[in-house]
């Protein structure tokens, strides 16, 4: 029997490959990419033809829009940073971080790792990387569609907007990792993470800190594409987002260490 098994071939496993396989063998990667690309392809079309589309459902009420601009075409996509795209990323990341929800799996992992950071870092890196890649793919799709239908947006502003999105999604995954140490189940983790992410913009009503909050990065693409602000304006938000994201990961490791199963 040993001979039969040893004749098999498989790639050597480790915690990094585990996360890669989690994305590859389940619908997670496909779903993330499909959602972002779908909205990237759809939003410019809706922006271009929203007047005509709504004229057919207006019941005699005519809704008029200003002419569509390239900035408006891609901004519709970037709003997914605080909408459906964010929810999908949080749900998928929560599924990876909530290993303590399964007692047998938690024992398997916890009694074998040499430090809980080894459980967190690969999960964070792979999920945040996949979310960022999916977001960029969607942005490229939106860029293509907008150029085709409306006109090309400014390349520099597009790249800056993509950077904002990638950094914000990395922060969202870190918040999800921390939320998974406050709850055990996936649903509860998603609820806590989304509550934290959606509640943060409320603090932005206090103007002096609005530009420092991570949520400033969700509205940054529209301002960057519209020319209202340039990238340096958001450097404080970048710094805070990276710092808070790192703190969330560190807190997740500490909480995992003290949590019993």
């Amino acid at each position: 029997m040993a001979t039969a098994t040893s004749s098999m071939t498989w790639q050597s496993m480790n915690l990094w490959r585990l996360e890669w396989l989690r994305l590859k063998r389940t619908p997670r990667a496909l779903t993330m990419a499909a959602v972002f690309v779908f909205f990237g392809l759809l939003q410019p079309i809706l922006t271009k033809y929203q007047s005509q589309l709504l004229s057919h459902v207006g019941n005699g009420v005519r809704i008029s829009f200003p002419p569509a601009t390239p900035a408006a075409g891609v901004s519709g996509y970037f709003r997914e940073l605080a909408g459906t795209g964010l929810i999908v990323v949080v749900v998928i990341a929560a599924g990876a971080f909530t290993f303590d929800a399964h007692h047998g799996l938690a024992i398997f992992l916890r009694t074998r790792v040499t430090g809980f950071w080894r459980l967190i870092v690969p999960r964070y890196t792979v999920n945040a990387g996949a979310a960022g890649l999916a977001f960029v793919l969607g942005a490229l799709a939106a860029w293509f569609e907008t150029s085709l239908l409306i006109g090309a947006p400014a390349a520099g502003a597009m790249l800056a907007a993509m950077l904002c999105g990638v950094v914000y999604l990395g922060y969202a995954v870190a918040v999800t990792a921390f939320a998974a140490t406050l709850a055990r189940g996936t649903l509860a983790t998603v609820g806590i993470a989304l509550a934290g992410l959606f509640a943060l913009p409320i603090a932005g009503v206090y103007r002096p800190i609005a530009d420092w909050l991570p949520s400033a990065l969700t509205s940054a693409p529209a301002a960057l594409l519209g020319g209202t602000h340039h990238l340096p304006h958001y450097l404080p938000a970048f710094a805070v987002t990276v710092a808070v994201g790192g703190a969330a990961l560190a807190a997740a490791v500490l909480r995992l260490r003290v949590r019993e199963i």
């Binding site: 050597s12 619908p27 779908f38 929203q50 916890r110 239908l149």
Partner: protein, 481 residues
């Protein structure tokens, strides 16, 4: 769909709208009838740009549907409804919603079109599982150091490594302090006053001593504290009071829960290899193959574990535990999900580890414990009522008993036996047999033949009435009730 209506204005035919003073709204001329959307709906023609823009969107949706259909066709099984229903859902429920519903609700994560369908093999003896000997030395250093450093940060409260051993060991009467014993004779695990209180239930003042190389069975009724004790030993929970002294490195301990769980989309070989990479990174793939073969899963190495039965998961849990060649194996109810043949194989495998590996296992099947455990600990209501050699427990808590068959009338012999001071009971048991209970094993074995000979009776047979752990357990727990 997420639409944002910025800068919009409304125009109602026949009603003049008051435009706000200073408004930045732009008055847009009435829409001509030949605009793309109108054309699309009215005449069925699309402007070239819109058609081109829609192509990638349609490709994405169609690709998702095709992927799902191919996945459905390759799947050996699906969840919730039959495959043909999922085909209808994918094809006819508004794209891509039907495909997404299939991916999340219908896809069977356990299926694998390429897996080896061969059934699980039998568990083989440990003689075939010695590959990888000597690799621990290379694996121990980093992993062990890391674990201990991590534990020092808080996870290992109340747990001592070998260097800290000796605390509280003197509580156990009749044995020398652990630090005065030769290394090979030291118990591998000792606990002192170990307490974890769950508000009246839990574990209280447990002084555990597990001899090195022994098979230590932990028995007790439901709620006795067996799993709590194993959780404290494996550091997945922390004690309220007391200490645990492990006289081995942390990386030489393997834990297997009663219901092992793994990611269902991994194969058995990948799961075991993951365990190897975590505890014995220098060991080769041959160690994985050997562990799987030892656990009886050689034929299922390529199967995804999502489709495994609970018994197969227990075997896989054992393979993951063995792949690191641990010195101490902690097994929680290792036979609870196995069929009778699998149970016997598992017990044989564990029994064969005696001497070169220490095993602590819990079970509520006393016959299993009696069969393989040379040491036993009996827990009830969170307290350790007894620990020691299994044989001593049976000898101590059971009056030895024999069924003596003689040729002829048993009444005179029974009367003679009843008159002996070492006899607690002697009475006929049928036409030619006498049931004799004695105060001790030795007294009975010496006295019965002498009395029979003294009566001039002919002895046909003298069989000990089986004394089992269950009887001892009942006697012990009954004595303390």
């Amino acid at each position: 769909m997420l639409l944002t209506f910025s800068y919009l204005r409304l125009e109602c035919p026949g009603a003049a709208l008051a435009e706000p003073k200073g408004s930045s709204w732009v008055k847009v001329p009435p829409m001509p009838n030949d605009l793309p959307a109108a054309v699309a709906i009215g005449s069925g023609k699309l402007p070239p740009n819109l058609a081109l823009a829609l192509v990638p969107l349609l490709v994405l949706i169609v690709a998702l549907d095709v992927y799902c259909l191919v996945d459905l066709a390759r799947a050996k099984s699906v969840r919730n409804v039959p495959k043909w229903v999922w085909a209808i859902v994918i094809l006819f429920v508004s794209a891509p919603i039907g495909a997404l519903v299939y991916l999340f609700v219908g896809r069977d994560r356990g299926h694998d079109a390429t897996h080896d369908p061969a059934p699980a093999g039998a568990i083989i003896g440990p003689g075939g599982g010695e590959a990888g000997t000597g690799r621990e030395a290379g694996a121990d250093g980093d992993a062990g150091a890391g674990r201990e450093a991590d534990a020092a940060g808080g996870a290992g409260d109340g747990v001592n490594t070998d260097a800290e051993a000796g605390l509280g060991v003197g509580r156990a009467a009749g044995r020398p302090p652990v630090d005065q014993m030769p290394p090979d004779c030291r118990p591998i695990v000792t606990t002192s006053g170990l307490t974890r209180d769950y508000g009246g239930a839990g574990l209280f003042d447990v002084d555990l001593v597990v001899p090195r190389g022994s098979i230590y069975g932990l028995v007790g009724p439901n709620g006795a504290g067996k799993t709590t004790l194993l959780s404290l030993l494996s550091e997945t929970r922390r004690p309220d009071r007391g200490t645990i002294s492990m006289h081995i490195g942390r990386n030489q301990i393997a834990v297997c829960p009663d219901v092992p769980e793994f990611d269902g989309w991994l194969t058995a070989a990948e799961v075991t290899d993951l365990a190897r990479s975590l505890v014995a990174p220098s060991a080769g793939k041959q160690a994985v193959a050997t562990a799987l073969a030892t656990a009886g899963l050689a034929g299922s190495a390529g199967r995804r574990v999502g489709g495994f039965s609970r018994g197969m998961l227990q075997r896989l849990g054992l393979a993951c535990a063995l792949v690191g060649e641990p010195e101490l194996l902690i097994l929680d109810e290792p036979t609870s999900a196995l069929d009778p043949a699998g149970r016997a194989e598992m017990l044989s495998l564990v029994a064969a580890m005696r001497g070169h590996r220490t095993v602590i296992f819990s079970s509520h099947i006393l016959a299993d414990v009696q069969r393989i455990a040379d040491h036993v600990g009996i827990l009830r209501d969170g307290r350790l009522l007894y620990q020691g050699a299994t044989k001593d427990l049976i000898d101590t808590y059971l009056e030895p008993s024999w069924l003596v068959r003689i040729a002829g009338d048993p009444e005179p012999v029974a009367a003679a036996l009843a008159g002996e001071p070492w006899t607690t009971r002697a009475e006929p048991a049928g036409a030619d047999a006498i049931r004799v209970d004695a105060t001790s094993l030795e007294a009975g074995e010496r006295g019965i033949p002498a009395v029979i000979a003294g009566c001039g009776a002919r002895q046909v047979s003298c069989e000990p009435v089986a004394a089992d752990l269950e009887s001892a357990f009942l006697a012990l727990t009954g004595a303390h009730s």
